[in-house]
Structures are given as structure tokens and as C-alpha cells.
């Protein structure tokens, strides 16, 4: 199995989720994160004391999928998350050795 980690713009979450569901990815885990990259942050000034926020709000979507599904899933995410503007985010893929569904203790691909 593979784990897909996608860092996307927050308001794209709904679309990404739908895209994944469509191709049959039934499960995913979402985290609110802050991103640092090419897209620059903004400056805030409070009564003269100024400071820059380099970190922008992003959403991390994690989905573990069977190897067969990987490419379809990545493609779906990229398609849904893309605005073409800087800051769209990244998709990272890594290997998962084992997965367990806690409720049933099923293991491997049928667990995801």
C-alpha cells in the first residue's frame, strides 16, 4: 500500500474529497497545517509593532491506498486541487508496510 500526503489550499478540500470519493477512495484523514514555501505570507501591524506571517494555512490530506489505486488517486488530487496559482501545494507518496482496521482487525489492503 501507499500513503498519499497532499498539502492543498483550504478552500479546495471539498473538491479534493469528492474527487477521491469518486474514484472509490473511501477513507482519508485531514489535518490543519501551516505551509511555508514560495507563496509568500503577509504582514500584520498591531499598533506599530509589525510582523510577518510566513506560514499560510493549508490542509493536509492523508490517504492510504492500494498500490493499484495510487496513480488514479494522485491524478485525481492534482486535478481537483489545482488553481494554477502559486501555493497550490504538493503531493507526496510513500510506502506503507502494514495497515490494520481497528474495529475488525482486518489487515492489509482490505483494511484501508
Amino acid at each position: 500500500m501507499k500513503k498519499i500526503e497532499a498539502i492543498i489550499k483550504p478552500f479546495k478540500l471539498e473538491e479534493v474529497k469528492d474527487a477521491l470519493s469518486e474514484i472509490g477512495v473511501e477513507g482519508m484523514t485531514i489535518t490543519e497545517v501551516k505551509g511555508f514555501g514560495r507563496q509568500k505570507g503577509h504582514t500584520e501591524i498591531y499598533r506599530g509593532s509589525e510582523y510577518t506571517v510566513d506560514f499560510l494555512p493549508k490542509i493536509k490530506v492523508e490517504a492510504v491506498v492500494a498500490d493499484g489505486r495510487l496513480d488514479a488517486a494522485v491524478a485525481a488530487i492534482v486535478k481537483a486541487a489545482k488553481t494554477g496559482k502559486i501555493g497550490d501545494g504538493k503531493v507526496f507518496v510513500s510506502k506503507i508496510d502494514e495497515a490494520v482496521r481497528i474495529r475488525t482487525e482486518e489487515k492489509g489492503e482490505q483494511a484501508v
Binding site: F11, E14, K34, H42, T43, E44, V53, D54
Partner: protein
């Protein structure tokens, strides 16, 4: 008016058991006259006119105190009451924009008020819909009471009290156009709107020679009544809000993206503050701590509580879940609907109003809005326009002489203590006029502002949120940079 006064005070003096030969120019006032003035203070009556006494130019402490506290309470309704009620209902990224709009409007309107707003709205003797500039820069508005508006309340206090009304009215509009209108556009819109809609309307309804001031102006063209501002405040803001949000268009992603209130807690806190402050708004509109204020206090309490409970229970029955927003919306709706009526109806009238106030706006917020699909973000139309209109109408239906002695003078032929008394028809006229003024005025102004500086923020600004883009701040920060 004037002759009525002298007549009445004459009768009053006689009735008070004093039958003096009217001394043309007595050096010191007679004891009888001094006592008559003291009694006039307690009963909020007219001073005797035989001879000036120590009280002739003095405000009455009880009434003055009540008016100052009431003014403070009405400010409390806007800052922070309304700001929180609305602020809690928007998304996190826009909460500050709502607060900024309330604060900005407060400062702006206060300046307009000082310039000539108060004068246009309340100075008499010019036109039935325009007060002119006699009190511009608050000149001549000092601590001596102005008998036209409150015989025992300092004139400057009355003007500040009315300022608080002038502030909250445009602030109410914010609810319909939240999360997408330019700050600069709001300030410009409000500036023009005050001159075109609010000041004239306030003069027509409350100005001593106002076109629709049925209670005090015997020569009023329309013998309507509006105790604390159903037409002036709620209808005007509510209908203007609808027009403006239609011209402005929907929020990005409206209908697609979820836009839940970011903090129902803030919303409820705001509701509580609105309710408490509203006593200053309604009871305070008696401009005296007298029998009329007392009645308004009772009716306001009953109508609000009943409306809040009604709305909640309707949800309980329909959805199985009474929501906090439901109870809060009901309370606000109750307050809105009772506003024009509070000083004119009885406790039972208030309960009836409460039930209707809990039911009708509910339908508008839950059903009508979805049918037509306009994006009245925080339901300013559904609650204030609808509520204000119903209220103005119900006031006509439920006003009773028993509830307010002042209905037995200029209006004695209109208030016949029956459901279809002539007053109803007068109220309908007032509603129509207010409606037209608000709708036409707002349409014109909106397009002017759109042409001059544009109404709406860019898509990007709207996506990022108005707080950062328009005000350079964020509502909430957790530790450190992140």
C-alpha cells in the same frame, strides 16, 4: 400644538386645585406654582406657565438619569451587542470586518449627527420631512430640556440618545452584505443613505412637525404611530439591506461551500446584550421614567421572551432540535416586532405579538430565503424588514387607549380599541411610504457607489477573508507564529 399646551397646562393648573387670577408679572412665583412644577416633574407633565420657578429650565433628575442610562444601553446594543451577534455568525476569516464596520459606522454617523444630522431629523418648523439646519453643530442643544421631545430631559441628552438610534440603524444593514462588501463602499453608502433615507424618515416619524407623527403632530398628513422605531429603524434598514444584498450579489461559494457561524457563543452573547440594551431603546423612547416607559418595559419583556420560546419550539417540532440560533433569532425578532408597539399595547397584546414574531420571521429565514435564493447573509431582511413591517402593522391593530394616555388626544378618532380601527389604515400608509423611500433610495445610492468606487471586494480578497485583506488583522491567533 402650542395652543394645546397652554390649554392643557391651564386645565392642569386648575385641576391641581389652584385657581389663581393669572398675575401678569409676579416677581416671585407663588407657592402653588412652585408645587405645580414639582408635581409636573414627578408625573412628567407640563410646567405651569404663570411664573418661572426654579424648575422652569431644569431637567428632572429621575427622567434625566433614565435617559442617560437608556442612551448608554442603546450604544451597548451596537458596541458590542450587534457586533457580536453578527460577528459570531460570519466565518472566522471575516469576524473582524463586521466589528470594523460597526465601529466605523459609529464614528461616521456621530460626526454626521453633529454636523447637521440631528438638526435635519429633529429641528422643527421647516418641512414635514426635513428639519433644516437650525441645530447644526449641535448649536443651541444644551442641558436645558426641549419641551417638544422631553420636558424633563436635557436636550443634549435627548440628542445623544437619538444618535445611538442613528448609529445602530445602518449598522443593522451590515448583516445582509457581510463577508463581501468593501469597507470604503460601506462608509460611502452609509454617508449618503443617512441623508437620503434616515434623517428624513426620522423627521417624518418623530419630528415634532413630522409628516407621520400621529401622536404629537395634530396636523400630520399620516396619523401613524411608531413608538421606538419599527419603521425608522427596522423597516428602513431591513428593506435597504435586501436591496443592497441583491445588487451586491451572493457570496462566493454561496450554496456550495458550507458557511457555518464561526462562533454561536459570540452570537448568543450578542443576543443577550441586544435584549438588555433594547430596554433603553424601547422604554427609553418614552423620554421619561414614567407610566408609558413602564408599560413599554413590560411589553418588551413579554414579547421577546415569548418570541424566543416560540421560534425555539417551532424548531423543536419541525427539526426535533431547538437551536441556540433559533432562540436567539426569536428573541431578536420579538424585540424588533414589539419596537413600534411597546408603548401602545397591553401585556396581552405583547404576548400575541411575541407569538407572531416567533413564527413569521422564522418562515422567511427558513423557507422564503431558500425559495428566492437571495444571500441575506445574516438575515437582516428576514428578521428586521419582515419583523419591522409586521410590527408596524400589529401596532395599528393592537394599540389601545388603556396602554397609553397619549392615544386619547390627537389620535382619539383613530384608536377605537378595535382590531380594525382606523389607525391600521394609517399604519399601512406609513409602511408604504417607508418601503418606497428605503427601496428607491437604496437602489439609487447603491448604483452611485458602485459606479464611483465599486461595491464588492475582489474574489481573492473574499477567499482570503476580509479581516486580513481589508483590515490587516486576524481575529484569533494561537501561540507563536503559527
Amino acid at each position: 400644538m402650542k395652543k394645546i399646551i397652554s390649554l392643557l397646562s391651564l386645565i392642569a393648573v386648575i385641576a391641581c386645585g389652584v385657581c389663581p387670577a393669572f398675575a401678569a408679572d409676579a416677581p416671585a412665583p407663588k407657592l402653588e406654582d412652585r408645587v405645580a412644577d414639582l408635581e409636573a416633574y414627578v408625573t412628567n407633565g407640563a410646567r405651569q406657565t404663570n411664573a418661572p420657578t426654579a424648575l422652569t429650565t431644569s431637567p428632572g433628575p429621575g427622567h434625566n438619569a433614565f435617559q442617560m442610562v437608556s442612551a448608554a444601553l442603546v450604544l451597548f446594543m451596537t458596541l458590542p451587542g450587534l457586533a457580536l451577534f453578527y460577528g459570531g455568525l460570519v466565518r472566522r476569516k471575516n469576524v473582524l470586518s463586521v466589528l470594523a464596520q460597526c465601529l466605523g459606522i459609529t464614528g461616521l454617523v456621530a460626526i454626521l449627527w453633529w454636523l447637521c444630522g440631528y438638526s435635519i431629523a429633529f429641528h422643527g418648523g421647516v418641512k414635514p420631512f426635513w428639519g433644516g439646519f437650525g441645530w447644526a453643530f449641535l448649536n443651541g442643544v444644551d442641558s436645558t430640556p426641549n419641551a417638544d421631545y422631553g420636558g424633563w430631559v436635557s436636550h443634549n441628552v435627548f440628542s445623544m440618545y437619538q444618535l445611538m438610534f442613528a448609529i445602530i440603524t445602518p449598522a443593522l444593514i451590515v448583516g445582509a452584505i457581510a463577508e463581501r462588501m468593501k469597507f470604503s463602499a460601506i462608509l460611502l453608502f452609509v454617508t449618503i443613505w443617512m441623508f437620503v433615507v434616515y434623517f428624513p424618515l426620522a423627521h417624518m416619524v418623530w419630528g415634532i412637525d413630522g409628516l407621520m407623527n400621529g401622536v404629537w403632530n395634530a396636523n400630520a398628513k399620516i396619523h401613524a404611530i411608531d413608538f421606538a422605531g419599527g419603521t425608522v429603524v427596522h423597516m428602513s434598514s431591513g428593506w435597504s439591506a435586501l436591496i443592497l444584498c441583491l445588487i451586491l450579489g451572493k457570496r462566493l461559494g454561496f450554496g456550495r461551500e458550507p458557511m457555518p457561524p464561526h462562533s454561536m457563543v459570540l452570537c448568543m452573547v450578542g443576543t443577550g446584550m441586544l435584549w438588555v440594551g433594547w430596554y433603553g431603546f424601547n422604554a427609553g423612547s418614552a423620554v421619561a421614567a414614567d407610566v408609558v416607559a413602564a408599560n413599554a418595559f413590560m411589553t418588551t419583556t413579554m414579547a421577546t421572551a415569548v418570541a424566543s420560546f416560540t421560534w425555539g419550539m417551532i424548531e423543536y417540532v419541525i427539526k426535533g432540535k431547538p437551536s441556540i440560533l433559533g432562540f436567539c433569532s426569536g428573541a431578536v425578532a420579538g424585540l424588533v416586532v414589539i419596537t413600534p408597539a411597546c408603548g401602545f399595547v397591553t401585556a396581552n397584546g405583547a404576548v400575541i405579538i411575541g407569538i407572531i414574531a416567533g413564527a413569521v420571521p422564522f418562515i422567511f429565514c427558513y423557507k422564503v430565503k431558500n425559495w428566492f435564493g437571495y444571500d441575506d447573509a445574516l438575515d437582516t431582511f428576514g428578521v428586521h424588514a419582515v419583523g419591522g413591517t409586521i410590527g408596524a402593522l400589529l401596532t395599528g391593530v393592537l394599540a389601545r387607549k388603556a396602554a397609553n394616555p397619549n392615544l386619547s388626544t390627537n389620535l382619539k378618532d383613530y384608536v377605537t380599541d378595535s382590531a380594525l380601527q382606523p389607525l391600521v389604515w394609517e399604519q399601512l400608509k406609513a409602511i408604504g411610504l417607508t418601503l418606497c423611500l428605503a427601496i428607491v433610495g437604496t437602489t439609487v445610492i447603491a448604483f452611485i457607489v458602485k459606479a464611483v468606487i465599486g461595491l464588492r471586494v475582489s474574489e481573492e480578497v473574499e477567499t482570503v477573508g476580509l479581516d486580513l485583506s481589508e483590515h490587516g488583522e486576524e481575529g484569533y491567533h494561537s501561540e507563536g507564529a503559527i
